[in-house]
Amino acid sequence: MRAFRYHRPADVAEAVAVLAAEPQAAYLGGGTNLVDLMKLGVQRPDVLVDVTRLPLDTVEELPDGGLRIGATVRNSDLAAHPVVRRDYPVLARALLAAASGQLRNMATTGGNLLQRTRCVYFQDTGKACNKREPGSGCAALHGQNRDLAVLDWSEQCVATHPSDLAVALAALDTVVEVHGSDGARDIPIADLYRSPGTHPERETTLARGALITAVRVPPLPAARRSTYLKVRDRASFAFAAGSVAAVLDLDGDVVRDVRLAYGAVAHRPWRAYRAEEELRGRPFSPELAARAADAELAEARPLRHNGFKLPLTRAITVRALTELASS
């Protein structure tokens, strides 16, 4: 692997400055994805800027009732946080459905959002991948694509975003706090991720060198009734074959508000706005949930090996919402 320098900045400003000065530098969080990719030659930074010692490791209750989660809060700590468990069960469940105990102890909040696709072609430098090497082609489009996208893919890329946490955060309308060389700004999570389009190598709207310092989860009392349902090929330690994050707010049996997001279907955590629209204002029933999922998936374009994601996503939508409705 490529030799690299290791830098531990004193504060956020220094971290951002190093990235601005070093065109091939990368931030290092828990390293659970980046270090693998460096060994494989998929990512080849020459400087690692270790942000894990920055004072970004707290979960803060905000006056408005929301939460600010520091970028270096470890997945395990966040999942165990009493306020998260009480007010945002969807978050705790998404975190605990991911990876293994050891990995969750290392992985950070910010790093989790920016992890790379697990598409096997992306992870193998011997195979064509536009995301890894723009212009080289997408071997997955007509290759082994069982795990890949059914929504919003392009001829250039059919990768999925692998995070569970990001799906839950997308359902909660989370705001991502970012520091760049031009200062701090907020990015709604819906605007953080990009569709693959013709430039799948550009995965987010973050400017080069920008550092996620925290995520802010808005107050959402209804989220106390929320869940994350993940289906995978074995009982533990596997990426999702399908997943859904759901918040359901009922007024009697009428859906007052609902938040739905899907994992494992697209290049980004997929907020299911159309399904939400179908559900809102109507008396809840499993049949309504199924219709809502169908509306969301109407534009899906399954690849050769992943047509099963449509009935699967539909089934877990119905289950998640029905469980919330009856809880």
Binding site: V120, Q144, R146, D233, G242, L312, R319
Partner: protein, 694 residues
Amino acid sequence: MSTVGQAYPRLEGREKVTGTARYAVEYPVDGVTYGWAVPSTVVRGRITRVDTTPALASPGVLAVLHHGNAPRIAPGQQPELWLLQEPLVHYRGEYVAVVVATSLEAAREGARLVRIDYDAGPHSTVLTDDHPGLYKPDHVNPSYPTDTAEGDFDAGYAAAPVRVDATYRTPAYHNNPMEPHATTAQWRDGRLLVHDSNQGASSVQATLAELFELPPESVRVVAQHVGGGFGSKGYAKAAVVLAALAARHVDRPVKLALTRQQLFGPIGYRTPTIQRVRLAADTDGRLTAICHDAISQTSTIHEFAEQTAVYTRSMYAAPHRRTTHRLARLDVPTPFWMRAPGECPGAYALESAMDELAVAVGIDPVELRIRNDTDIDPDQGQPFTSRNLVACLRDGAQRFGWAGRDPSPRARRDGRWLIGTGVAGSSYPARARPSSATATARPDGSFLVRVNATDIGTGARTAIWQVAADALGVPPERVEIRIGDSALPTAPVAGGSMGTSSWSWAVIRAAEALREKLRDGGPPTDEVTAEADTAEEVGGQPTRPRYAYGAQFVEVRVDADTGEVRLNRMLGVFAAGRVVNPTTARSQLIGGMTMGLSMALHEEGLLDERYGDWVNHDLATYHITGCADVESIEAYWLDERDDELNPAGVKGIGEIGIVGAAAAVANAVHHATGVRIRELPIRLDKLVGVSGLA
């Protein structure tokens, strides 16, 4: 009191859990360097140019070996090991160069910088049942006849009132021992010392001596602790040869370990299979005709013919029987041994077909197997030395709570879960190979037993130590056992479930010879040693059908909405001769059963024909069953005595646990859902959305 049969903890357990047990590349060596294997990036072709300049310019890189500059070796008996000798590529991932550097990272970076140009040709890497290259090999692994026939299958099948005709498919399965193939190689004064991860140091010693044209005593192979092999380390493989070549080339010690990704292919794998099974029976379920046609693949370098249908030759009786094997020679790495080669995929097909027959006849699948039991081996025509299949089925059925099972599919439901149970038979040959050993009496009253056995994590070291203590007639604390070194008396590999039978045979004979020498009984004033070599005795043993048997019971639940399959419980009962150590035996059996579960539900090598290799080549994308998938697993064994096996009375337990396990799972899935999946693995994508499931 007999030491054999007692649950002693592993002798090296403390070393292993405290991290002091050393594996092949963990020995400290002065001046050591690191090798990195460079795989080919084309499937088939000729190397036209190797540009080593950028790699050699990279910091820390000492050398790049390739066909143009590597030390010459003799063409041995295994063409796969004639590495870096010619500019030819036979499959994608074949090792075509080695980079040696002063650090592992520098070697890896150097490997990235080696530029190789190829003249690539067209390739064929996908096995199909109508592949134009299908042919009949001369024999199947290791030396079974390719085809067999008794009676008149076609007529018997046509005449029967009940028939099953089903084709089963299994994908490529990849051995993933925790410790990869890894070697530390050192040359000193023309002699070669390797610390190597293998299943038989004597065999690796012989192979290295042949390749490097050395007398065997100039090669020493040490394999004290081995982190698993499952057959893939059954003889010398690429890593040890590349390390030895590299060490000779740079004249310094070299450590070379394959990466996880590099294990998928070049070390061997279980071939994909396409198996057609036809069964015919009368209305009482008595088999009248059995046919098993197996198709698998081999490489263009070396023929390996998985003995897939051999299981069917001896398992159940019928007057009309036929088995065939056909191979396609593809541009792929050579398939090789993986836990119960032949029996494992073959039993999946036959024991699945038996379940289909039970449904067709309307007979309980345990009872169907009991009705078709036989004391005479249908293949050899001789009585089995012992056959306790029926006893395993009955005992297992009772322990599992099989009685009263409603045979109808989809009969049990618990909320969203459809629940089903399945059974399968299991058998594996009980064999032994010649071995040698020595036993030494010391003046202090202790004993030393030496045999070049290998403990690949099974507990073999402890088992032989227990056998030795009984054979010497002393408490085990007075016995020291040494294994895992080619400087010890020559012994066969840990493979084919015949390690313990073979090694213990020689150890017992050496102990007997020593006791003969020490007639007075007391400790000698000087060390006294006795040797034994069982070649003559093993070779002279009458040919008889000797098998271990088992019965596997499984309960699964299948999510009616998502198609997820989860294992509620798995229970196996085995008749495997004498059990030397219940603790390690249980580990072997449940390990095999778990691997069968993994085969049934999780593992699958996904080949991309365009690239000619498997695209899922790490443990994140090639799923192996994890602890959370095994909610309850139990293994039992019958108290079985068979005096026609070997002096220790053992049948071998390393492989039988996997045989039949996948069929039991698949049969349970059918019982739960009414859906018969005949292509493994049974993953949710094959069940979700299937009409009628929910």
